[in-house]
Amino acid sequence: MGKNDKSAGVKNQKADQFQALVAEHLDALYGFALSLTRNKAKAEDLVQESVLKAFRFFHQFERGTHIKAWLFKILKNTFLTDWRRDKRHPESLSMDDEESNFSFYVEAFRQSKASPQDYLPPESLHEQDMEQFFGDEIMKAMESLPMEFREVIFMCDVQGFAYADIAKILNIPIGTVRSRLARGRGMLQKHLWQYAQDRGILKRSA
């Protein structure tokens, strides 16, 4: 076997190993990219750019560690680099603190001065009801969140990452992960609350 053949063989082996490890996480990465970019074409580009970057630095990946978290971190950093390059940032981080305290149920109770069960009875609030009531509105609500909140909710609620993993991926303290989750979820609830009221799913207070 010639020197070139041997080198090509090693390269193929590395590519095969890499593909075998990342293949199962590509849809999750795509979902994450979509949640960040809110645009299919940009999300596809972002996944490709991030995975190629991961392949270039594959020798730095420690075998046996959390590859999904490693890929998410690369994708987030790649997104941020592109995002910073683009001067048009419509999103702001300034948030009203009252958002974090908003509770769908507490608000229903306060406004109605009746039992929340009169409005969305817990016993009948099944999965189908949520989908039927809110449908695409949940996605709209997610997309309306500033990136900092959208990404932690995606990682925690959709992908099931632990707080510690999210903290590592985003390079922020665990306490910040917790507070961003609480604030983001509060905003999500508030959006759905408004929608439910507008559609008469929840009665307005008299």
Partner: protein, 76 residues
Amino acid sequence: MDCSQTHRNLYPYLDRQIEPAKKKSFESHLGECPDCYGCYRFHFHLRDCLKKIYRHFELPPSVLRCLFKRVAGGPP
């Protein structure tokens, strides 16, 4: 655990990050309080909907093929 403590621990519970010592007391309150249980169910189902929505997305096969070709060193 009372209602306000239950609300404070709702997210850690849903995220499986609640302190073990508080877990039993949290669950016990949910069993007794319909309002807190309703709140818990709302969040539980909301998360379920989010999972369904975002897990529905798949990287298009053409992008996948192109990506793996590039990884293998071939033209896109």
